[in-house]
Symmetry: D2
Subunit: 220 residues, 4 copies
Amino acid sequence: MTEKTIVIAGNSGGLGHALQARFSAGGYHVVPVSRSGAGDLHADLRDARDTARLFESLDASKPLAGVIHNAMQFHRGAFLDTSPEVFEQVWRSMTLTAVNVAQQAIPRLRTNGGGCLIFSGASGSMRAGPQFSAFSSAKFALRGLAQSLAREHSSDGIHVAHTILDGLIWSDKTQQRFAGAQANSSMAAKDLAEVYWQLFHQAPSAWTHELDLRPMSANV
Amino acid sequence: MTEKTIVIAGNSGGLGHALQARFSAGGYHVVPVSRSGAGDLHADLRDARDTARLFESLDASKPLAGVIHNAMQFHRGAFLDTSPEVFEQVWRSMTLTAVNVAQQAIPRLRTNGGGCLIFSGASGSMRAGPQFSAFSSAKFALRGLAQSLAREHSSDGIHVAHTILDGLIWSDKTQQRFAGAQANSSMAAKDLAEVYWQLFHQAPSAWTHELDLRPMSANV
Amino acid sequence: MTEKTIVIAGNSGGLGHALQARFSAGGYHVVPVSRSGAGDLHADLRDARDTARLFESLDASKPLAGVIHNAMQFHRGAFLDTSPEVFEQVWRSMTLTAVNVAQQAIPRLRTNGGGCLIFSGASGSMRAGPQFSAFSSAKFALRGLAQSLAREHSSDGIHVAHTILDGLIWSDKTQQRFAGAQANSSMAAKDLAEVYWQLFHQAPSAWTHELDLRPMSANV
Amino acid sequence: MTEKTIVIAGNSGGLGHALQARFSAGGYHVVPVSRSGAGDLHADLRDARDTARLFESLDASKPLAGVIHNAMQFHRGAFLDTSPEVFEQVWRSMTLTAVNVAQQAIPRLRTNGGGCLIFSGASGSMRAGPQFSAFSSAKFALRGLAQSLAREHSSDGIHVAHTILDGLIWSDKTQQRFAGAQANSSMAAKDLAEVYWQLFHQAPSAWTHELDLRPMSANV
């Protein structure tokens, strides 16, 4: 098999690294992208031009097989304390980055005879709780985008999936940020990566658009 | 009863006028707001400062009872033909206007001992079809916002509702825009206005957060 | 207006009595039906023949305008402690009664030029929690039935609605059964009855199929 | 690894045979069960005692790892032409069989330190269309059951999943029953079986409760 390229955008809670490891082990040319750029390709995916530049820079390489989008900006806070600027920022980080990435990826995947786009959602994608107005609004928006893309581009051989990560991903950062988080009630990034790998390779006769994921110990 | 003020933002398909008529008949001081401003108060609700200015200008008047938000920017088009700018515009028109309006209304309603916010959604708020990436993504985002506000501010006596308008509202514009639209398979703006009136006045022991509305003749 | 008949099946938490009062005040000939039959017409709606007998007995009276179905059998318990017989009983009480009632009502409403059927759901209709396998399974089943009937019979002028009662209805029985239930965090039956009245009389251009109801103080 | 037993109940559209092949290849002791019993173990899973007898007969064999439930009774027909008996039958075939099977399996899986139950749903599990009152009502009921079991028994190490098969499974029977069905717009049973295999073996830190499956060519 010809080696193919997969772009992994964002590293929420270590998921990016685990996906990188899983898809590298599976023979892909993995291109991790993040804003910080530590060890990754740097691109600001909130910017359409910068995103275009990124994908163009990959065109000389192996053909694109797909993109996994984890770009994440967690935000919790009272609605009245969330400025419209922050509200917009959260939307740009989680939704507009997905728009930009999809607009670059879809034409390339179409040319390559198909491919897969996975967008990572959260429990807040399905149910918007108090203190989550900005976060959930952006995650709902991302879900609407993914659903529309799935319906619009499946006939091009493009499999669009949306995952609902219903829990914390275990990492050092998680420990610091969420008092009381525990490994055995969190999700392991490598286990999630395995599910993404499976989703990415589903046969065209049986594509999943949406699935949820949570640790056994969680009250679902 | 002291006369109270209601702000009606946007006039999608004549719904704004019908709401104006219904709430005026019911004794409210109705403040219609639109971007065009024809006969209405002019304000650009995509702009937080302009929205603040609007609500401040009403503070000398009757106390605020609530807001109905119909700000609407219909958009249908292939995803690959929808520029990120248009995608953002649609979100600004339908979601950010709701953020701005809610941030002005909620503190005032809290001071007044409660009130009601109604946000108008569409069938695209629940299911994102092909050609509706920008529209549905923004309508999903609005729904997430409304849900979070309901949960965050019900204890302040603020009733937040989200309607799902699953069909066309009958108007001259509808006739022009949608070939084949017919009065008897469309919704009458005055009938919708009656439901909004009822929602707005539900007793605190029985509040509806979400309801759908469609014409009898529609295949639901 | 010619007086019309409405059948109110079941009295869950006093809702039946409140509906009776509201529709009587509104000029209907109200026929309350319950298994116990205290003050009501007696019929076992789990039995198709008994249900047929009931509706036939009403045919000499005012024409049927609709039915409100609240037949309820609350059940909470560990799945492994719920015998298949109990599981079935709960389904018979809440779902099969709705089938039987709808099969009698629909042909009559069609003949009368239309009408309204309202089925009362619960929070367990949308989300099935632990200890609610029998209850939620039956409530999910009722929701599926209502949805199918709405789509199949709206063109006959029959408005089918499903309410999601997300909370307790305040009554003496509620106080006894649920320790800690309080009036101000429960729903008042008369407020619910008002919403049912409004639903029942929605104009054909703007029909609601589903709405939720909960007390202000509830975390929605 | 000790060989383990998996029970596969029902063969809807050839899915049973494909699951049998997949899990046999993966080293399981596969016990197919069907009402007809052709080549399978015969048991009437609508009957609690017969279901108990079946599971007891397996107790001497390899320990139980889980059950896949595909018991299916397709039914399409006008509501007014569907007798309460047929309505009940459809519920018995698709929901009560799941109750019976789960009541036998859960205590055994708990003893064995965990396991997996997969219930097969359909598009009608999520949206009840006209002519599908009996079918969708039963499929909704099955979904409610599965959801409650997932929440009640995940702490026992029991992974409960619900699949939404949104399309036809390709088989000779499909061809006969649905005029116009085509292989390339249907799902291949072996591809579905692969997804079930993956679901069945998800790591406890990342369990999926629900996923949809449809062919690429379907309008999702």
